[in-house]
Amino acid sequence: MIRKFILALLVGLPVLCGTAFAADTVKVGILHSLSGTMAISETTLKDVMLMLIDEQNKKGGLLGKKLEAVVVDPASDWPLFAERARELLTQRKVAAVFGCWTSVSRKSVLPVFEGENGLLFYPVQYEGEESSRNVIYTGAAPNQQAVPAVDYLIKDLGVKRFVLAGTDYVFPRTANKIIEAYLKSKGTADTDILINYTPFGHSDWQSIIAEIKKFGSAGKKTAIISTINGDANVPFYKELANQGVSAADIPVMAFSVGEEELSGIDTKPLVGHLAAWNYFMSVDKPANAEFIKKWHAFIKDPKRVTNDPMEAHYIGFNLWVKAVEKAGTTDVDAVLKAVVGLSVPNLTGGTATLLPNHHLTKPVLIGEIQGDGQFQVVWETPGEVPGDAWSDYLPDSKNLEADWTDPINCGNYNAVTKKCGGAAKQ
């Protein structure tokens, strides 16, 4: 009797006693910066997660329980990411975590997820050279973004000279290393590659653009492959336009500029510059139209855009839901076993299948920037490209494979020596 009374009391006070509900809800951790420099990109991902969880609850939740979002703010501070991740896993006991944006934040939480046996869904395109048992990479690996984009430049646009311009940190450095190796394997000479790194938030591009202009006036078709990150993009494109470099002369192929970044730029001078992603908001497919409609209704602002990492979370969340339903439990080991090989529809009319290396199959789309801040798809791969964790173009990693199924069960398996942890650094 007394126990019933206490139970009724608890049901009546759901707000005050959130933590007491551990048994009745499934908790989902959201680890995205809501303040600091990365808030610009990550806040949207928190919102899309809330939307997906809300929607799942309307469908009746998961395993007969309601889903409960646990939002924490790591404030764009990399060590704080690890702290918050530990809090989510040990104190809040979440079943899965969706989060991180920058590679450095992912590297900082990696030991926590591996130590506490947690489950992280990472939604952003990244430099590869990694595969963890506890991480599902729902963004693109380099072979699902950089390599096809370079192919497009060489084959379709006839580009002979390349400027690799990037912000000075791990993603551009590794991505450029892979692109450089790939270009050389295609016969591009050293003198036809110009590599340039700039600090975070670089705002004075005058001399660099002047140098690129000279590099591009040697009579061979030139393109810029840009891994310039975040806030440095606006001054970069503005300077490009002001110095009279149009997309017809020297097109820019960007890997970090999406709809959300463009919504902060006057895009008229940018028309024709390129970006490579696995999703564009402008893709005319019913699944995408429905997603955009739901997003606008949820966020109550019909002007908000959708972008590639949002699709990655959409895929990641559906994948997790399907895996939990298949396993019948939210236990991490069981879910990890169930999730490999599962397929869910993506938003561009295809399906995303999770491979044994914890990466997805994704279509690669090349889009041109339009005056309205959207992309127009000008090229796409005929089907989905399987994600490759370890690049085939780097000597250190070309023999490595990741396979999290029995009997290999290893993130860096050397296919030649048949040993786990072969030549990998980590």
Partner: protein
């Protein structure tokens, strides 16, 4: 209008529009496109457009020109329901149907899907359109078209020769001769005399491919040709070096002017008053948001909005500064460490406030037409317009502040309070009022700097952080308390940065500069222009 329009047809573009609009109504009909070509325009795949472009390229009618121009500008649409193709110009109420040319009022844009083309198709369309303008009656339009001809596109010698024969404008003639010379150099069967003439022409050419074409002739078997080529290459190199030097100088000055702009407010608050204001960058940010706000209030008139935003951003920055001084900083005078921490906290609060109240995302601030593009001084040297304006703006702001500090009563009082507070008060100056006004002045200038920065960089919550360290660097380097020092300091740092950058890369240039500055401060701890006299001693 698309960006390509502007770059390629800048001189003659208005004339072209007028020309098209005068001619089209009369002859808009009679476009003979095959059904396959029309289907290729309706297709949702961009690659399918090739068929239509091929047919349009062969069609010399005005209707074809109109269609090509609409394709390039993104004004060609297909109706989702019945597949009709129609041209709908921005702001126009009448649509022109393709291929019939009928004009019908059409307003429901939701039914339409844009017929997109790719970058390379857009260039091809531009080449096609320019070819039509090569014999235009207006010399400006003709020159635009000829200049847009690249050596590769120009293709046949016969076309260039026939153009040259009928041309009277000297600048167009020169350009045509250069293009012919380029073709001549590439021609294996050219005689030595031809090559000599070509080398002479290319030595003065502004075409980027000139040097490369001449390189192929280096060490020609005819010694006269070889010598002429060497001479031409030397001349080209001298011109290129000169414009490189001027370019670097301009880049340095314009970077310097940005540094001066962001730090001149700090030179007042930190230099004259001695307040370490870590929220200075956020005051700059508020100024930039003022431009955005003004553009939201005046949609479609970015130029007017920008001009109005300059005084408005001064007011916004100034009011925020006055509030800051009255509420926080005044209670912390004489305690630099506490001031530093308190203002750092305020800077974080301001950033997060903008994130929460406006948006964590950057805001799009439009650049008005006069701030875009390049100002061509010679054929291969030009200045970017926005930088020129900002350089002038910076000098204007500096002159204004300098005059305020040295020619007005407020300036006199500010200097008096800064030099000796008790004596100034004994002379009847309301020191606390002067403090507030000085801080507001410095903050107002920071706001104006923000208005200028909105034309160069992102308008977002993080805007200020990128400039705060540089601003302190400039003020300390120039000499604390000396406005003139801030001006010189900023320009010198800008120039030094740009001289280093080509050799060392942007990252290393910053590091070298910082290390150099530390060394410099060891020799001259009070900066370039230290304050002299008794006041400076304490």
């Amino acid at each position: 209008m698309s960006f390509l329009h502007r770059t390629l047809l800048l001189p003659g573009f208005p004339a072209l529009l007028l020309f098209l609009s005068l001619l089209c109504p009369a002859r808009a009909g009679g476009l003979s496109l095959s059904p396959e070509a029309l289907d290729s325009l309706r297709s949702s795949k961009v690659a399918d457009r090739e068929r239509a472009l091929r047919e349009l390229g062969e069609d010399a009618s005005e209707a074809a020109a109109e269609l090509l121009d609409a394709l390039r500008a993104g004004d060609l649409y297909v109706r989702r329901d019945n597949g009709d193709l129609l041209i709908l110009r921005p702001g126009a109420e009448e649509a022109i149907f393709v291929p019939g040319g009928e004009r019908t009022p059409f307003a429901d844009r939701t039914l339409l899907r844009k017929v997109g083309i790719s970058n390379s198709q857009r260039s091809a369309v531009t080449v096609l359109l320019n070819r039509r303008l090569l014999r235009h009656t207006d010399a400006d339009v003709r020159r635009g078209a000829v200049e847009s001809l690249r050596a590769g596109d120009a293709g046949d010698k016969a076309l260039l020769l026939s153009l040259l024969q009928n041309e009277s404008d000297t600048r167009i003639r020169a350009r045509l001769e250069q293009l012919l010379a380029l073709l001549g150099v590439g021609d294996a069967g050219a005689s030595s005399d031809d090559l000599l003439r070509a080398a002479a022409v290319l030595g003065d050419a502004s075409l980027p491919q000139a040097a490369q074409a001449l390189e192929t002739l280096k060490g020609h078997r005819d010694p006269r040709v070889a010598a002429a080529v060497d001479k031409a290459l030397y001349r080209l190199r001298v011109t290129a070096d000169r414009s490189d030097m001027l370019e670097t100088l301009f880049f340095g000055l314009s970077l310097g002017s940005v540094l001066v702009l962001t730090s001149i407010g700090l030179a007042v608050t930190f230099g004259v008053m001695g307040v370490i204001n870590m929220a200075h960058g956020e005051l700059v940010m508020l100024g930039a948001y003022t431009v955005w706000g003004m553009q939201q209030l005046l949609p479609g008139r970015p130029g007017t909005a920008l001009l109005l935003a300059v005084p408005a951003s001064f007011l916004v920055g100034g009011c925020a500064g006055a509030l800051l001084e009255r509420s926080v900083i005044r209670h912390l005078y004489g305690r630099p460490l506490e001031t530093l921490l308190a203002t750092f906290g305020i800077s974080l609060i301001l950033q997060q406030a903008v994130r929460t109240l406006i948006s964590p995302m950057n805001r799009a601030v439009e650049s008005p037409a006069f701030m875009r593009g390049m100002l061509h001084i010679t054929d291969n040297f030009g200045l970017t317009c926005n930088r020129v304006y900002i350089l002038c703006f910076c000098l204007g702001v500096f002159a204004l502040i300098y005059a305020t500090m040295h020619k007005t009563r407020l300036g006199l009082e500010v200097r008096a309070v800064a030099q000796n507070r008790p004596i100034a008060r004994a002379l009847g100056i309301n020191a606390s009022r002067v403090d507030t006004l000085t801080f507001a002045l410095g903050s107002g200038v920071a706001g104006m700097a923000g208005a200028a920065l909105s034309q160069l960089t992102n308008v977002g919550p993080n805007l200020g952080q990128g400039y705060i360290v540089d601003s302190f660097m400039v003020v300390v380097f120039g000499g604390v308390g000396n406005l003139y020092g801030t001006l010189c300091g900023g320009l010198v740092l800008g120039l030094a940065n740009k001289l280093l950058e080509p050799a060392s890369g942007a990252m290393l240039a910053k590091i070298i500069l910082l290390a150099g500055l530390i060394l410099f401060m060891q020799i001259k701890p009070k900066g370039l222009f230290p304050e002299r006299g008794r006041a400076a001693e304490n």
